[in-house]
Symmetry: C2
Subunit: 441 residues, 2 copies
């Protein structure tokens, strides 16, 4: 992408409405724009990151055996009356009357609708297990939306729903998502710690929030330091292997970890002091086994091997991509701007032409831009007439992992400078060597 | 994907609510499910097709220089009051009050919001041309939604918006989208005819509906037969070449084509009778140059090369992916079901195991399934215990382009049958030959 043909409205000033660094950087880098309170547009740079985040989520959901569908945003109130949640859900639910005066709503979540899909088609245990997910816009009319897309009213959510014959099977489905989530966040350069969450009347210990550590986190968290070294499930994980997945769950829940709501001071103090970790965290995912909470009121049953009807056991599994993007920034930035992990970077490389119009600079930049694009790299080519300082500041701000600086003096000698955004290390290379390095050859 | 682990709820009976063949086949193949009147969920098979349709749209928008963003579904009424459309838009607009009692709405289209984005950042003609698009859910509360996702209330739309300094530049932006649309529909196996549409008070001849011919089309259309042979712009089209794009526009608007609303009986009758074509059509896209219609009330101006402020000239360009899916089916099916063009097929190949449990059948099926998946093919593996007749009927119904039939007799001899869904032709091949053929080697 040539920057002269791109739309990346960089802000020079720090926007005063932004209270946290990710919100400030997303606005300054031209990633998002607020349209109404807590409602955002994603501009081209932000959209690219959001897409990469969603692609990783999707790959790991698919790997774990979940199937992607797409449920609508607008729901009828009927299903919610059936489940008993229509009145429970307060002013956060955006209630709507359509032209026929029917009570509709903008879905804040989809347990009811997906249960309705399930009961309409699935009649036998032979069709189980089943896990359906979608990545769709949700709306929760928060009284105080803030921190940009970290806590917005309209937000993107990946929500998966599992259906099983028995509690035991449902726990396996839960463990699948547990392992998938560990892989998902890890691939985005995040270390997420699963922390026990409140299960309310359901009971049991199968509800976990996945929390990443960041100074600006909304809640205080307490955990054992060992988490930092636990191994992430590999790409060869067999998601059908019940024991292997249980082992992953057991390992990752073997030491203390709790949010402030679930904190047990005594248990925490039982950890040797040197192993205690108390920090602030951001919730990036939540998984929950809720048994027959929805299947019972909504009559979602299947015939079991015994020929009898059984209420299905369910769970739900959420990740908020529009919240993950700022969470990644909170975890990875410096005073000059964002530092994207390569897996979610909007571009792999930015090629900076220090003197457009200079024959050698133009030629080398076009060679690198064309060549790297051809081998499938996402390349941003800064072909603008801005001053050098502005170009460097922009490249640092938007956080592309590698910068290639093409200045007239070194260009004349067939050389370019390659800078690593994270370490700041610069290296002078021939054009060919730079091309080979960046193409991953 | 193993069918035993997939969710593809085939209906045996013809659903009586479906009036047209695409709606009937989408329900029967388990692609969609109605959740409320005119509001649909996309089940896994449907979601796959929808994704492939969107991917083609996206590629061609990007190729033509448009930039992808993502605007929210919920908009404030303020912008619509500013443009003057808040009261003009009738009961089709879903109006919402949020918890602060602010007037919001579910966007039926985004001219206002994108103009607001534009005016917030772009101050100079040097940033032009600009074309921003998104693929986002829209809601229009039609009084009579029907024909499945062909005319639904909640629907997906790709809407692009161009911004230019002058009318002349805007016409070039229009021609870019004109050529991009021809390529887009052609890649989906559709021949779309651009037909002049009403420009209302804007005037001029830069509004075109793209219509595909289908017996079940909603409107009558009239055109010259030559359209059938016009050349589609190639992949090497230079979207920056003003003259080349104008030549494409001129060629494709050189002979008569009109919907019934714009029909000119005399002009049509002037065509030699043998060259006249009158048929029914489905609108799959609409492009429109609207000049300063939104920039004027909303004050979207840039500084020109003359140092003065100029209202920008705009256009909008829409394609409905959730409508394209049934449109493709209307254009491509037979009495047994859907016949997907390869570019949008949910799977490239279906491998049918005629006797699961038979050692040779299982081994050959696993070889083909694994091997083809490894080379990047989307493969559905029918590993179910259904009867042969049911398996064949399902494969035909869901319209996967190639079927590989693995029966015990031929499997014992190391052979399989390859069937072309469209022609019905069957051929017996060795496993290796089938693999090479299907892998495209």
């Amino acid at each position: 992408m040539r920057l002269t043909r791109y739309f990346m409205p960089i802000l020079k000033e720090n926007p005063k409405e932004a209270e946290i660094v990710s919100h400030r950087l997303m606005l300054r880098a031209g990633m998002i724009r607020q349209q109404s309170q807590g409602i955002y547009s994603w501009l081209p740079l932000g959209k690219r990151v959001l897409d990469k985040v969603c692609a990783i989520i999707r790959e790991e959901q698919d790997r774990a055996g979940a199937l992607e569908i797409m449920m609508p945003t607008i729901q009828s109130s009927d299903l919610w009356i059936e489940s008993g949640r229509y009145n429970d859900y307060g002013a956060e639910m955006l209630r709507i009357k359509d032209r026929q005066d029917r009570a509709m709503l903008f879905g804040p979540t989809n347990e009811e609708m997906v249960t309705d899909i399930f009961r309409s088609y699935i009649k036998s245990y032979k069709s189980l297990p089943l896990n359906l997910y979608h990545i769709q816009w949700k709306f929760r009319d928060e009284i105080r939306p803030r921190f940009g897309t970290m806590r917005s009213r309209e937000f993107l959510m990946k929500d998966a729903y599992s259906f099983d014959l028995t509690k035991e099977d449902a726990i396996h489905s839960y463990n699948r998502m547990f392992a998938a989530y560990l892989r998902t966040f890890s691939r985005m350069g995040l270390r997420a710690i699963p922390m026990r969450a409140d299960t309310g009347p359901i009971g049991g210990n199968h509800s976990h929030e996945f929390i990443i550590l960041a100074d600006t986190g909304e809640s205080e968290v307490f955990s054992h330091k060992d988490f930092v070294n636990f191994e992430i499930p590999g790409i060869d994980t067999d998601f059908n292997d019940v024991d292997a997945l249980k082992a992953i769950f057991d390992k990752w829940t073997s030491v203390y970890a709790a949010t402030s709501e679930m904190h047990d001071e005594a248990a925490f103090n039982a950890i040797p002091e040197a192993d205690r970790m108390s920090a602030r965290g951001i919730e990036v995912g939540h998984i929950f086994y809720f048994g027959t909470k929805y299947s019972e009121p909504m009559g979602a049953k299947v015939q079991g091997p015994d020929g009898k009807e059984h209420l299905i056991h369910g769970g739900s599994y959420g990740i908020g991509p529009t919240r993950l993007v700022p969470a990644i920034i909170e975890a990875s930035h410096d005073e000059n701007g964002i530092i994207w992990p390569a897996s979610v970077a909007p571009f792999d490389v930015v090629v900076i032409n220090m003197k457009p119009g200079d024959e050698a600079c133009d030629r080398i930049c076009e060679t690198l831009y064309g060549g790297l694009t051809t081998v499938g790299k996402d390349v941003l080519y800064d072909d603008t007439d801005e001053r050098a300082g502005t170009k460097f500041a922009t490249a640092d701000l938007i956080g592309v992992p590698v910068q290639v600086i093409v200045g007239p003096r070194s260009a004349a000698g067939g050389e370019v400078e390659v800078k690593d955004r994270k370490t700041g290390q610069r290296e002078t290379l021939t054009v060919e060597a730079a091309m080979n390095r960046l193409a991953g050859r």
